[in-house]
């Protein structure tokens, strides 16, 4: 039974992906960064579209929504997965609308009038069957994948517009997008980079080694020195884990202090974030993913260790007012414009999976 085989193969892959997610996207394993995570999720969703049994767009959306719920539950601190699920759902909506011949544009516009009149009709509309829908959706997902593959390059390409000669740039920790961004600028310009080490994980060390390898003048500073050094800095360029719906950030711990210091000195704070990091979530709770492996940080505490709670906040929330500019793969945007991008990328009904 080839059909059943396909089916088990698919569930097997989903299970494996879920297990990978649960074991922590950060660190080891195939899902090291959010870029990979986004790509893997999209591959899997394409597979589901291709192999799962569905007859109408509504079925498919239900399947994807279910799997998406499981995936996001598996690793709640990783928003990329949910974002990709929403993107795919939006793609399905668009393809369905195109097949039906109506333009999605009008339907999507939110207006007071629509809010009052529209019921739950839209869901029922997806019951119609189209022969080419599957192929079209897969084609669109493929486009999405190409977009994902090119994100880092697209962001890096804009580097020369933002970094000028002899500037002093500050960054925090390690972000592969920022690294690529700086490296791209270094091909033409000479500038100085100051890296805050970002204790306790000290990803900043890794970042500095990477930058100095391509000949960028790099200085590593302790996190405590951020404010002192800020007066000399022309621009702060950092990455983020998630861009929240209000234009705020959920970024690596220590980012908030950098942002405040930058505001104090009126230094521009530029965020390099690919579009797939844009999440319809608003700031709710701070997650403490791993306080583990900190026993070696606390050598003094031996006997009282049982009475000590170790909290290691991994992420900071940075409010949108501290941010000057977002640089994404589709260009630079102000934080106040994020809501607009949000409605372009995701359908409002998908905000909650």
């Amino acid at each position: 039974m080839p059909g059943a085989d396909k089916e088990t193969d698919l569930t097997e892959r989903i299970e494996a992906f879920l297990a990978d997610l649960k074991r922590g996207g950060s660190g080891t394993g195939p899902l090291r960064g959010s870029g990979e995570m986004a790509r893997e999720t999209t591959y899997l969703l394409r597979r589901i579209t291709a192999q799962a049994r569905w007859s109408s767009a509504g079925d498919l959306m239900e399947i994807i929504r279910n799997e998406g719920r499981r995936m996001t539950a598996a690793q709640p601190s990783e928003t990329t997965v949910g974002n990709m699920v929403r993107r795919v759902l939006k793609i399905i909506r668009e393809e369905y609308a195109r097949s039906r011949g109506s333009s999605e544009e009008t339907e999507q516009q939110e207006s007071l009038h629509k809010l009052l009149t529209a019921g739950e009709l839209s869901e029922e509309n997806f019951r119609q069957h189209f022969v080419h829908l599957k192929a079209n959706v897969i084609e669109a997902i493929n486009e999405l994948l190409t977009e994902l593959d090119g994100t880092t390059d697209n962001i890096a390409m804009q580097a020369l517009e933002h970094i000028h000669s002899n500037e002093v740039i500050m960054t925090v920790g390690r972000s592969r997008t920022v690294e690529a961004f700086l490296k791209d600028a270094a091909r033409k310009r000479k500038f100085h980079v100051i890296v805050a080490e970002c204790a306790p994980f000290c990803q900043g060390h890794e970042m500095a080694t990477g930058l100095s390898k391509v000949g960028i003048e790099t200085t590593v500073i302790a996190d405590a020195a951020i404010f002192a050094v800020m007066s000399r800095v022309n621009k702060v360029i950092i990455g983020t884990q998630t861009v929240l719906a209000n234009g705020g950030l959920r970024a690596v711990n220590g980012t908030h202090s950098v942002a405040l210091a930058a505001r104090h000195h009126s230094t521009p704070l530029i965020i390099c974030a690919p579009m797939f990091k844009l999440s319809p979530q608003v700031f709710t709770t701070i997650f403490y993913p791993f306080p583990g492996s900190f026993s070696y940080c606390l050598p003094v505490l031996r006997e009282i260790l049982s009475k000590v709670n170790v909290h290691c906040p991994v992420f900071d929330y940075v409010p949108p007012e501290l941010i000057t500019l977002f640089i994404s793969n589709i260009g630079g945007n102000a934080p106040s414009y994020i809501y607009r991008l949000m409605s372009e990328l995701y359908h409002p009904e998908d905000h909650k999976l």
Binding site: A19, A73, G292, S306
Partner: protein, 706 residues
């Protein structure tokens, strides 16, 4: 025996998919040698009695998830593709659990085979069976079913494989240890080890459990070994995870007396030169690994779980993938399952995990606790470090401190459980009662336990049912468990030492180990000497009572000498000691010197042939004398008797004159013995003897001549 097989092809295709159809050759290699693991889902001890009487230890819930699930998750996340689960005690329950779990789904990347037998009595039996059935083909990971860990052993595995490749099969085992300083709460007292290892090759040179010993001895040869550097470490925590080569199973078969991993490690280290096998160590700094070997460990591991030290195995991750097991995580490590209700004014301070459908009354204070599914908790309840399993009912005004409350237990109003109490399955306690510290209450009567002591391992359901009937006949004691209580106190009803041991075992509080339990190198030798001494004493006693000829006594002592592997010198010293202590043994230590010599001297006469048999060379004489001296140094009230003893021995020709004089003239080694010699004016007597001896000389020489 039951085995659950899923086709190897599925797991293979999964692997292939994960590698994105990459390197085909490496994929094939991986298929040839899937990583295997042996999981021993039995503890082979009774530390968790009486809890484990109803449920095998591997299935006891830790953070509302059975312990074996943690172990399997750990194995799966390290890339194990085939796991053999060996169960013995209550194997049916383990089997049922596993069949229902996600590990036996066809999509599981880790294929679980369940092997059950009632005949396993130790780890050794399991590994012998592994060898007999030829289950492992390659290096495998050996763990117990109660190990909780998130250590990434892939590097240890790599090191192990590399070592085995470099020098052909010399390294048989790599043990995984975690660095943790002494006093860390996850360090288990009984697993406290001291390890000497080669710094460079990470080879284990010496391995010893400290067991509270203050003095430790290391064999000299580890210092003389070729290596430049070596470390003696006491900051290691045994994670009970070992990477074994297939040889390990073979070695267990060859050495049928190996019972535990400890036996094995010691055996390998002792026979290293003969067999050429080595054991290595992998020390990790981060990660978490601990074995829940007693309730103390249960308590601390459970709290560590809730405090997220075992990330990513956190309660809200729901890694077992069971419906309805999910929970939310909020600040201060408070986890709530679905449908949890919390009364007005109740506080969950920190590190609290509450299972699904549990309801909590008003004004409760809960901290550092785990509460299972379907529990009801009344008003004004204080819970601190309480571990409640499923379906527990707690009435109002109850206080529970650091205790375990098993499934279905009922705690009535105004009950106070002090530290380290255990309420086993379905026990009812109260109302209005305060259980003293360390109380263990079970529905099983402790005596019934003693009755079927021998076949506890074999007891199946039928037998349990049978014994239940027996317990019914015995009434519950309302003074112990309260007016409406149901259950038997284990501690109070059992007699002294045994019960003491039980409580300690449950909570693992072995604070001052008794000298007899020191079974380690130095200690064991000493105890061997001691038993030898007792045996000699017994022999002599019997000889006296039954009038056995001295020649036969000699024969018996000789055979004992071989049995206990005692050197001739020690035999003599012990013999001397036994004889000189004999009067004390028989008549108590309050003897006057006069009585002492009075009873000793005839004995010396009777046993003189025995002495003569052992004391032949000049050195023997000196050794004997030093033994005499040693004894009298201990018994300083009887020092004056020493002269008489020496004289008698001289007269009986046990000791030679020259020897005594030489001993006397070599001088004392310390102040006390000098004192001894002076006090007695041995000198004065000596001259006396000399005269005597000169008088007897002719006849003596005549005897010698003959």
């Amino acid at each position: 025996m039951l085995q659950i097989y899923t086709s190897g092809a599925t797991s293979g295709s999964f692997r292939g998919g994960k590698q994105k159809k990459g390197n085909v050759t490496s994929e094939q290699e991986e298929e040839e040698q899937p990583l295997q693991a042996v999981l021993v889902a039995d503890s082979f001890n009774r530390r968790f009695f009486p809890i484990s009487k109803d449920q095998p230890r591997a299935l006891l819930p830790l953070g509302n998830v059975a312990m074996i699930d943690y172990t399997l998750e750990f194995l799966t996340s390290t890339g194990v593709q085939e796991t053999f689960v060996f169960c013995c005690w209550m194997s049916n329950k383990i089997k049922d659990h596993l069949l229902k779990s996600k590990w036996c789904r066809p999509t599981s990347p880790n294929v679980v085979h369940i092997i059950t037998s009632d005949l396993y009595r130790s780890l050794g039996d399991v590994l012998r069976d592994v060898d007999a059935k030829n289950l492992v083909r390659n290096d495998f990971i050996l763990v117990y079913g109660d190990v909780v860990s998130n250590i990434d052993v892939s590097q240890a595995l790599q090191e192990h494989r590399h070592r085995r490749k470099v020098d052909k099969n010399i390294s048989v085992m790599t043990m995984v240890f975690k660095e943790s300083s002494p006093g860390h709460k996850t360090r288990c007292e009984e697993d406290d080890v001291i390890v000497a290892m080669d710094s460079k090759s990470k080879r284990v040179l010496h391995y010893q459990k400290t067991q509270g010993l203050k003095k430790l001895q290391f064999p000299m040869n580890i210092f003389q070994h070729g290596s430049d550097e070596f470390e003696i470490r006491h900051d290691l925590l045994d994670c009970h995870i070992s990477i074994c080569s297939p040889q390990v199973a073979e070695l267990f078969t060859d050495n049928f007396d190996y019972q535990t991993r400890n036996d094995f490690v010691r055996g390998i280290l002792v026979n290293e030169e003969i067999l050429g096998n080595q054991i290595h160590l992998y020390v990790t700094q981060d990660g978490y690994g601990a074995r829940v070997s007693n309730l103390q460990m249960y308590d601390s591991v459970s709290l560590d779980m809730v405090r997220r030290w075992v990330y990513p195995l956190t309660p809200e991750a729901n890694f077992t993938d069971q419906q309805g097991q999910g929970c939310t995580h909020s600040r201060h490590n408070v986890y709530r399952g679905a449908e949890v209700s919390l009364g007005h004014g109740s506080q969950m301070e920190e590190n609290v995990l509450i299972g699904r459908d549990t309801s909590i009354g008003a004004n409760c204070h809960i901290s550092n606790s785990v509460i299972g599914n379907n529990c009801t908790i009344g008003d004004n309840v204080v819970l601190d470090r309480a571990h409640m399993w499923n379906n527990v009912h707690v009435s109002s005004n109850v206080e529970i401190h650091q205790s375990v409350v098993c499934d279905g237990a009922v705690v009535k109003e105004a009950v106070r459980l002090n530290k380290q109490c255990v309420l086993a399955y379905n026990v009812v306690i109260g109302p209005n009662l305060s259980l003293p510290e360390g109380t263990v209450v079970s529905m099983h009567h402790p005596e019934e336990e003693e009755e079927d002591d021998d076949d506890e391992f074999l007891s199946d359901d039928q037998e349990v049912g049978h014994s239940k009937d027996k317990t019914r006949q015995k009434a519950f004691n309302p003074a112990e468990v309260g007016p409406e209580g149901k259950g038997y106190i284990w501690k109070a009803s059992m007699n002294d030492t045994e019960d003491e041991e039980l409580a300690q075992c449950l909570w693992g509080l072995v604070l001052n180990p008794d000298p007899e339990s020191d079974s380690e190198s130095e200690a064991s030798e000493e105890s061997q000497d001691r038993t030898f001494q007792l045996e000699v004493l017994g022999t002599l006693q019997r000889g006296l009572e039954e009038n056995i000829v001295c020649d036969n006594l000699v024969l018996e002592i000789n055979s004992l000498k071989y049995a206990y592997n005692i050197t001739l010198k020690e035999v003599m010293q012990i013999l001397t000691r036994v004889v000189l202590e004999y009067p004390f043994q028989q008549q108590g230590t309050q003897l006057t010197t006069l009585q002492y010599t009075g009873s000793l001297l005839p004995l010396l006469k009777t046993w003189s042939p025995v002495f003569k048999n052992y004391i032949k060379r000049a050195q023997d004489h000196l050794d004997c004398l030093s033994a005499v001296e040693e004894l009298f140094l201990e018994q300083d009230t009887h020092q004056t008797a020493m002269v008489k003893v020496l004289m008698k021995m001289y007269q009986l020709e046990i000791l030679e004159e020259e020897a005594i004089l030489k001993w006397f003239s070599t001088g004392a080694t310390n102040d006390k013995s000098r004192q001894l010699r002076k006090n007695q004016g041995v000198m004065r007597r000596m001259s006396l003897w000399r005269k005597e001896s000169e008088e007897d000389e002719s006849s003596e020489e005549g005897e010698c001549g003959r």
